[in-house]
Amino acid sequence: MNLSGIVVICQPPKLSAVSKALSELPGVEVHFEDRDQGKIIVVQEALSIAAEMNGLRRIKALPGVVLADMMYHYFEDDPEILEGLTKSRGKQPMGESDVIPPLPIR
């Protein structure tokens, strides 16, 4: 599971509409709003990392959104990292390496 803290910036008059649209996106929770600055803070939860990236792209594409970016990223339980950890943290076994594929020469 990945959690990301995202700042969304919109034109202040459109804040309510953008906030509503955000809260309707899957995995997205609106936590804070600042009407004067036109800023909305959301947390996005995504199972796979690809879903997380697509989610950000969806947020950026909402009408009224000027800028949206992740500022905070939590990935302690990310399954892909856990797999990477178990595979690579130990010493590679002495013997022929299976990680070097052949050279791409013409």
Binding site: M1, L3, S4, G5, I6, V7, E29, H31, F32, D34, Q37, K39, I41, V42, V43, E45, I49, A50, E52, M53, V66, L67, D69, M70, M71, Y72, H73, Y74, F75, E76, D77, D78, E80, I81, E83, G84, L85, K87, S88, R89, G90, K91, Q92, P93, M94, G95, E96, S97, V99, I100, P101, P102, L103, P104, I105, R106
Partner: protein, 915 residues
């Protein structure tokens, strides 16, 4: 994970993000943020990717990084990060991370054609040493070389530089930064006499006009671009101009977009300079006090390997390579250079392309005369679908913005200008326009050369890990600079060779012709990223070469290697980077490296233990060495002097160069570590704090000459987020060369370009030197005239399209790291070829079709893209180079700026047809 734990985390992350974004929070929300983060250990870090140098905060738990946020305390990014930055931590956890040395073996022994077998460090270093001694014995000091990096930490670059230049007595170190900003350096040297920008990122908030010269900041310097866009949104008067050879993402945020033909930036810049004069907008007070006019030869070649016998050239590329020695001027060059069309010009100044001399203002003006609006529009208009009138209107508008007395102007550039067969010239021309207007070295006014790599400035340039450089603006050919360096390093006089070593491309060529037989690669991927790659891969695999590659992931260079050494990555080691605004940022080791991986610095030091000064400090034969005070082709023995200094021939390089009595005073552990580990010091096991000691050894080089760095502990303080040099009296630098801001400027001078390099030059007219007597010009900058020059290879009937390459937002360089992050990989999995829909149609191609992209040098298969983030003008195609499955550098030409030796990745001729 339980629901309540998840909600707890979310509330904390939301509150923390909100406070980073400047929202006012209730005490309850604030305490939620603190509660969540309590279990983690936070420390400051710096982004491992681009030259912007964003600050990060990393959270660790149980020996690994678990969370990351932008650093709000860091003035570079104020908490923001781009999509690459966001994955700094994750790149350490890819599944194919290398954690054990791997060597090509057959029957239990090293064998060039063997398969990669995991070996111990001991075995790895044994073979590496054996091969090193063989190459050195056969070829001498210049038979060994190092491909270094602008991604080296400062200390890593410093150590390797010292090992080669003082230990091995070979200036055979050159960084990949050569292919990234060497033209910028050459431009700084020739114009100002000292390297690195005068301005800083606050220029963005001070200016009202920003001009992008072939720099797609929206994708390449994303966080700076966010600052540019903020500035533009906040102030209706701000104008942004994007000059490019195709429409890219930066165009979306620009008020004016100018699509020009490859190399015609040279003409556009001359048009601007001409216009400044024609409109009587020259700031004469500034120009008279602080500048002189200069020019140099035009017949300087194209940086290709001159090869009249065709020994090193594919038959298909011979026609282009032949131009290296002789070229017929085309119509536009002839006009721009005041010559006749078709005139054949022998490239006689190839030997000294950077020579230059002062000229009068009258000559300067005369040289610019041909660059009228009519002429430049004809040379430069890059989009067929645009009318010439519209294009002229845009050029005029650009000139209006520059000359407007009310406007401040900042020019930004990186690869479009630097990776250019006339890259040094183009840098100089941008300065020329700013200097003529007096719009330089002031808040919001200045030509600002950005960098691509995180420590291109901090390591490659400041430490001087180039074949011709020494720390802090010192250069190999200058005897006083060598002497100073030898004294600092406490090595005998004449230890350092007076001969400039091989630049990056030359090391490739040296491997090809067998003059170099041993090479060590650190923190870069030369066989993926150097253009015309088919030649270099074949050269590296020649039977008697030995290639060592220190790597984290198996990229193309690792596959080319004979020995792969697994490295510690970014937060697995102590380090420091210097960014594009001269900000030096240090970080601590936060997590241990995996398995048997070890940092590049440990590798250098450990390898140095295997050699003694007696191995290198006797007399050496160096073919081609010619310098005052030296016998030709010889480096003298310095062993007698060494003994007088108290060294024995049996002393190890480790002891003499690194673990010196001075350095051993910096003990490990040290309180700045706050109890954390340091695998470098711990693995060496002799109780010194390597990174701190080397930093303290390095800083005196820049002190008192305008490049002052602070002491080590200052950078590690919690309240410091890097410091811009020069750091004088505890205050960081802001705008260089300006009396109001720069303590190095003489009181009362106003401005002073106090750089010392290339400051005594002869004088002459536009064509030649007329008085060879050098005249000094202390405190002055040079305004250069440089003419339009056509690209050495241009589309013809066979190869009928322009081709350009570069990065994409989501991937870093050759993708060895970013392609490990699944989400980055999935968002842009394979490189695509952007092409104009008409060009696709004419070739019977549709979006997603697989095609061959072919040049004289090689071909690759790639899929076609007619939409998306880039819009190509007719006749030009673009593909990024990150993807080793689409090995773009087989196609690219290895022409380069002859002055800076930086390759031109931005233009060659190709054909595209269905696969």
């Amino acid at each position: 994970m339980t629901v309540s734990r998840r909600n707890f985390l979310k509330a904390g992350i939301a509150a923390s993000t909100a406070s980073m974004a400047g929202l006012t929070l209730t005490p309850a929300a604030l305490s939620a943020a603190q509660e969540t983060e309590k279990e983690w250990q936070w420390d400051k870090g710096v982004c491992r990717f681009c030259g912007t140098g964003c600050g990060l905060m990393l959270a660790t738990r149980n020996g690994r990084v678990v969370a990351q946020k932008g650093d709000v305390e860091n003035s570079v990014n104020r908490g923001w990060q781009c999509v690459k930055g966001y994955f700094n931590a994750k790149i350490m956890y890819g599944q194919d991370r290398l954690t054990q040395p791997l060597m090509r073996m057959k029957d239990g022994k090293f064998h060039k054609e063997g398969n990669f077998i995991a070996v111990s460090w001991e075995q790895a270093f044994d073979e590496m040493e054996r091969q090193f001694r063989r190459a050195y014995a056969e070829k001498g000091p210049e038979g060994v070389a190092c491909f270094g990096s602008g991604q080296w930490t400062v200390q890593e670059g410093y150590a390797m530089n010292k090992l080669f230049k003082a230990g091995f007595r070979a200036n055979m170190v050159d960084p990949n930064a050569r292919n990234c900003m060497a033209s910028a350096v050459a431009g700084f040297y020739s114009t100002f006499g000292t390297d690195e920008p005068a301005g800083n990122y606050m220029d963005i908030e001070h200016t009202d006009t920003m001009v992008l010269w072939g720099a797609n900041m929206a994708e390449m310097h994303t966080v700076l671009w966010a600052r540019v866009m903020n500035r533009r949104l906040a102030n209706p008067n701000v104008r942004v101009v994007n000059l490019s050879t195709f429409r890219n993402m930066s165009s979306d945020g620009a008020d004016l977009e100018i699509i020009f033909k490859p190399n015609s930036d040279l003409a556009i810049l001359n048009y601007l300079a001409r216009e400044v004069i024609a409109r009587d907008a020259v700031n004469w007070d500034f120009v008279n006090k602080h500048t002189i006019f200069a020019t140099g030869p035009y017949d300087i070649g194209y940086g290709l390997r001159a090869d009249p016998e065709g020994k090193w050239t594919f038959p298909e590329e011979a026609d282009v390579v032949a131009k290296e020695l002789k070229v017929a001027l085309d119509k536009h060059e002839a006009i721009g250079q005041r010559r006749q069309e078709g005139e054949v010009v022998e490239q006689n100044s190839r030997g000294n392309p950077g020579a230059h001399w002062s000229i009068s203002f009258e000559d300067y003006k005369k040289a610019l005369e041909p660059y009228t609006l009519e002429f430049v529009a004809e040379v430069a208009k890059g989009d067929d679908s645009e009318s010439i009138e519209e294009f002229k209107r845009k050029l005029r508008e650009l000139a209006d913005l520059f000359v407007d007395q009310q406007r401040k102007v900042v020019s930004f550039w990186t690869m479009g200008i630097n990776q250019h067969t006339r890259g040094t010239w183009a840098n100089e021309q941008i300065y020329a326009v700013h200097l003529l207007l007096g719009k330089q070295s002031q808040p919001g006014n200045g030509a600002f050369s950005l960098t691509g790599q995180p420590s291109a400035c901090g390591t490659a340039r400041e430490v001087g890990t180039f074949a011709h450089r020494l720390p802090a603006d010192r250069v190999i050919p200058n005897p006083a600079h060598r002497q100073y360096t030898e004294e600092q390093w406490k090595v005998p006089a004449k230890t350092i060779s007076p001969k400039v070593g091989s630049f990056y491309a030359k090391i490739m060529r040296d491997l090809q012709d067998g003059s170099v037989k041993w090479a060590w690669v650190q923190v870069n991927n030369p066989w993926h990223t150097h253009p015309n790659a088919n030649h270099w891969i074949a050269a590296a695999r020649k039977s008697d070469n030995f290639i060592v590659v220190s790597e984290a992931y198996p990229g193309i260079s690792a596959k080319v290697a004979d020995l792969i050494l697994p490295v510690a990555m970014i937060f697995e080691k102590y380090g420091a980077y210097g960014n594009a605004e001269r900000r030096t940022q240090h970080w601590r080791e936060m997590v241990p490296p995996p398995g048997n991986a070890k940092g590049d610095l440990w590798q250098v030091l450990e390898f140095s233990k295997r050699f003694t000064v007696g191995d290198f400090w006797g007399e050496q034969t160096v073919p081609g060495l010619k310098a005052a005070g030296y016998e030709d082709n010889k480096l003298p023995s310095v062993l007698a002097d060494a003994e007088a200094m108290g060294y024995k021939p049996t002393d190890s390089l480790y002891k003499v160069l690194f673990a010196t009595p001075d350095n051993m005073q910096y003990k490990w552990p040290d309180p700045v570590a706050k109890g954390g580990g340091n695998h470098t010091s711990e693995a060496l096991g002799d109780g010194w704090f390597v990174e701190k000691a080397l930093w303290q050894e390095y800083v005196p080089f820049g002190r008192g000459i305008g490049k002052d760095l602070a002491d080590y502990d200052v950078y590690l303080r919690d309240d410091v987020r890097g410091l811009r040099w020069p750091v004088v009296d505890g205050k960081e630098g802001t705008w260089r060369f300006n009396e109001e801001y720069d303590p190095y400027v003489t009181k009362g001078a106003g401005f002073e370009f106090y750089g010392k390099l290339l400051k005594a030059i002869p004088s002459g007219d536009l064509d030649k030197v007329t008085n060879p007597e050098p005249v000094g010009l202390p405190g002055k900058a040079k305004i250069f005239f440089r003419p339009y020059s056509a690209p050495v290879e241009q589309p013809d009937e066979n190869y009928n399209l322009w081709f350009s390459t570069g990065r994409v937002l989501e991937h870093w360089h050759s993708g060895t790291m970013t392609r490990r992050v699944p989400e980055l990989h999935r968002s842009v999995p394979a490189a695509v070829l952007w092409i104009h829909p008409d060009d696709a149609r004419e070739r019977g191609l549709q979006r997603n079709d697989l095609v061959w992209l072919e040049s004289r040098r090689g071909k690759v298969q790639i899929r076609v893209e007619t939409g998306g983030r880039n819009t190509m003008p007719k006749g030009t195609v673009y593909a990024p180079f990150f993807d080793e499955g689409v090995f773009i550098n087989k196609v690219c030409i290895d022409s380069a700026c002859p002055i800076s030796k930086e390759s031109d990745y931005k233009k060659c001729a190709v054909k595209v047809y269905k696969a």
